[in-house]
């Protein structure tokens, strides 16, 4: 038996509209809880790993350094933006697919192919005028990514092969294609390790601070374009309808299979663009161990941003900030805290998001039902045979 109180005195800590809850409060609470969990991990590691005095303030030191490394001045902020740029683009690639009810795990492969396409054209045009070389290299990245997105979309449309399976497979293929290209046809002769030549004039110009490149504008343009596509065009309406209710889409005379192919190809364009901005804006050349984290971080970004273009921007800034701040955190804590703490934080944020019911229970929140439509999409679409 529970305590017998008049129900009107029930605990109601928060009464939020469902949309505010899902879009703002839930991610915010998840981040705060993840930082708490991170503190516990840090303190526990101090206890477990012997040989240094126990320092209760270490989590504070670490988070302060993380923050300083991400936002403490123009250069750190530019670093954050640089790290967030590919996450915005690849996050859009995952988020757009979520809108169509597709779980695009293949952003990683599309990202790599996009980078490869860009570096191929960028190297070929590295002496050309930047006004030709840059658009051409970006376009090549988009097309290569699109091709890598088209394949799983096409397979799903003709045979119902689930995109989760095919995109994972294509990620592996992409890694091998990169390794082959970088050590074979694109390898710079004479290099001690397999890397391509520099992209030269195809490099994105620096527009903010020391090294904030043009890619950030490309990403912002993509955010606007995706938002416009999804909410202002009939094509976007079709994508959203297919994602929300494929049967209704069929009844409405839409062609879900076509939409699946289109959406995956567009996702490929976005992820490919992400790869292009990294290779043209940051590294200026490509190596086999290129871009191992962006594709997977982008899934987290899309989840945290609830697949909304604006949400993805904020999520990407958060994750970009953690990546940008990680080196200073390692430096200022005397390497007591490895960069992996960032992974722990990211994973914990996602765990809390996915387990939003748990948060509601812990905080005794009631009357708020809305969860993450994206995690629901995963649950709903995985195992569904075809569109």
């Amino acid at each position: 038996m529970t305590t017998e109180r008049p129900p009107s005195q029930g605990r109601r800590l928060v009464a939020l509209p469902a949309t505010v809850w899902a879009a703002v409060a839930l991610p915010f609470i998840s981040i705060v809880l993840a930082l708490l969990v991170g503190s516990i991990v840090i303190l526990a590691s101090e206890v477990i790993v012997p040989g240094h005095p126990f320092d209760v303030t270490l989590p504070v030191t670490a988070y302060a350094a993380l923050f300083e490394g991400a936002f403490g001045g123009l250069d750190p902020i530019v670093n954050t933006i640089r790290a967030a740029t590919p996450l915005v683009l690849a996050g859009l690639a995952v988020g757009l697919a979520f809108k169509a009810g597709l779980f695009n795990i293949g952003a990683q492969g599309q990202f790599l192919l996009g980078a490869l396409g860009s570096v191929t054209v960028g190297v070929a045009l590295n002496q050309a005028s930047p006004f030709i070389a840059i658009p051409a290299a970006l376009l090549a990245g988009m097309l290569a990514g699109a091709a890598w997105g088209f394949i799983p979309g096409f397979l799903k449309a003709i045979s119902g092969a689930h995109e989760v399976v095919t995109t994972i497979m294509l990620n592996y293929v992409a890694v091998s294609v990169i390794a082959w290209a970088v050590s074979g046809p694109l390898d710079q002769p004479g290099s001690p390790s397999p890397i391509t030549a520099q992209v030269g004039n195809a490099a994105l110009p620096v527009i903010i601070g020391r090294n904030g490149h043009l890619g950030v504008l490309v990403a912002l343009a993509a955010v606007l374009a995706v938002g416009w596509l999804l909410f202002r065009t009939t094509r976007g309406f079709e994508i959203r309808t297919v994602g929300a209710n494929p049967d209704a889409a069929r009844y409405a005379g839409m062609q879900p299979r076509l939409i699946v192919v289109l959406t995956m190809s567009l996702a490929g364009v976005l992820a490919g663009l992400a790869g292009a901005t990294v290779v043209l804006g940051v590294t200026h050349y490509m190596m086999a161990s290129f871009g191992t984290t962006v594709g997977f971080d982008s899934i987290a970004v899309a989840l945290l941003g609830r697949s909304s273009p604006v949400g993805i921007v904020f999520a990407a800034i958060l994750f970009g900030a953690m990546r940008a701040g990680a080196p200073l955190m390692q430096i200022q804590t005397g390497s007591l805290i490895p960069a992996e703490l960032v992974d722990v934080l990211q994973a914990t944020i996602l765990l809390f998001l996915a387990a939003h019911e748990v948060i509601r229970h812990i905080l005794k929140l009631r009357g708020v039902k809305a969860g993450l439509e994206t995690t629901d999409t995963i649950a709903r679409t995985y195992g569904r045979e075809s569109v």
Binding site: S45, V49, P50, G51, H52, P53, G69, D75, N79, R82, A83, V175, S176, I178, A179, W180, V182, S183, Q188, P189, G190, S191, P192, S193, P194, I195, T196, A197, Q198, V278, V282, T283, Y285, M287, A288, S289, F290, G291, T292, T293, V294, R323, A324, A326, P327, L328, Q330, I331, Q332, T333, G334, S335, L336, I337, P338, A339, V342, D343
Partner: protein, 390 residues
């Protein structure tokens, strides 16, 4: 400050570093198994440089990999300790696109010496050295440096610029891996009863790995001209799998040995992945040979079958150079470590000397002496070219 770090070395490692340090002053390329109490680079005057800030950026992976990253770090710590500087921190990028920003974070925080570990960081380190001429950079496995006339990383590899004058504060370490491989090859051929030995590389794209193996082949043939060497690599493309995945290494090693049952000595050239290869060798009841460091110590799990290792004196080189930077004698450019500088060595046999003929150490020392004298060819003409091994 904290004495021992999160990623800090174990007691065994401390012993090991002392052993390595001892190598530098001792005449023998092979360290005696017992720890020497001599401290690190004797040539460096131990003056207080407590305000000097030294930091390390490793390749993708983990700092405590009991291998390349860790020994570079150990060498840096040693060098720092020798000059009385604060214990250096280490940062580990998640991704190759973070190399530059990881280095930059030290620069921005006012560091004086930045050590970057691994050939993958070569371009990023060269660029940083160009952009920050007042900061010293030590690039491990990045020699010889290749710059154009402006001192920028020359990715066409014409290498027209003279790095030593253009980037006077960039020290690019290189090692004569084929010499270490040669010594290991001699040991392998001597220990093999079947006449068939094997080598497993992490990845086909790794120049130092290939040079190790080329030397290994020549060294083995110097003992037994009919020796058969089976060479394979874990992956063509995936660097994590190649150097940071002992589980894959183990299963790859198992399969390799099933396919090649005659192999009775197996050389791993695959970093931490190779630790799994050594496990596979132990399990199959054959001998293993470690790489880069004395793996009998760095990877005790396989010590029971690790008869020797092809060693680079990672810690020695880094700590020596830090000392030279401080005393003003260090110069930029290629800093090549070969037998003549004790930059390479073979690992002590520990308890497994019985695997070899009694005169093994003499043979190896003789070969090492010839290397020092520059009279022993340890790499074929196309040094670093995988096709010579196929």
């Amino acid at each position: 400050m904290r004495k021992q770090r999160w990623l800090g070395a174990s007691a065994a490692l401390v012993t090991l570093t002392l052993v390595l340090a001892a190598c530098s002053s001792g005449a023998s390329p092979s360290a005696s198994a017992a720890g020497s109490s001599e401290s690190a680079p004797a040539s460096v005057p131990v003056t207080a440089h407590s305000d000097l800030k030294i930091g390390v950026v490793t390749d993708v992976g983990t700092a405590n990999d009991k291998n390349f990253n860790e020994y570079t770090y150990v060498g840096t710590k040693q060098g720092a300790a020798a000059i009385g500087a604060a214990e250096p921190p280490v940062t580990v990028p998640k991704d190759s696109s973070e190399f530059a920003s990881s280095i930059q974070a030290y620069v921005d925080d006012g560091y004086d010496i930045i050590v970057t570990a691994g050939f993958s960081l070569g371009v990023a380190t060269t660029q940083a050295a160009h952009d920050n001429p007042d900061v010293w950079f030590i690039g491990v496995d990045q020699g010889p440096p290749c710059v154009n006339a402006e001192g920028l990383p020359d990715t066409t590899f014409a290498c027209a610029g003279d790095a030593a004058t253009l980037l006077p504060h960039f020290v690019a370490l290189s090692y004569q891996e084929d010499q270490a491989g040669y010594l290991a090859g001699m040991a392998a051929a001597s220990a093999s009863k079947s006449g068939t030995i094997g080598a497993i590389l992490g990845i086909s794209l790794c120049g130092p790995c290939i040079r190790y193996t080329q030397g290994f082949k020549l060294g083995a043939e110097s003992i037994n001209p009919d020796i058969k060497l089976v060479v394979n690599w874990v992956t063509e493309s995936d660097f994590v799998k190649a150097f940071n995945d002992p589980v894959s290494g183990k299963s790859y090693g198992d399969q390799f040995l099933q396919q090649n049952p005659d192999v009775d000595v197996l050389f791993q050239v695959a970093g931490k992945t190779g630790n799994g290869v050594l496990d596979a060798a132990c399990e199959a009841g054959i001998y293993g040979i470690g790489v880069d460091v004395d793996q009998s110590l760095s990877y005790p799990n396989a010590a029971k079958c690790t008869i020797t290792s092809a060693m680079k004196s990672l810690a020695l080189a880094v700590s020596t150079d830090i000392g030279k930077i401080v005393d003003g004698s260090m110069k930029g450019g290629d800093d090549h470590w070969d037998a003549s500088r004790d930059g390479i060595a073979y690992g002590p046999f520990h308890d497994l000397a019985s695997a070899f003929p009694a005169n093994m150490a003499d043979l190896l020392d003789a070969a090492f002496a010839k290397m020092k004298a520059g009279t022993l060819v340890t790499c074929p003409e196309k040094c670093g070219d995988l096709s010579t091994l196929k």
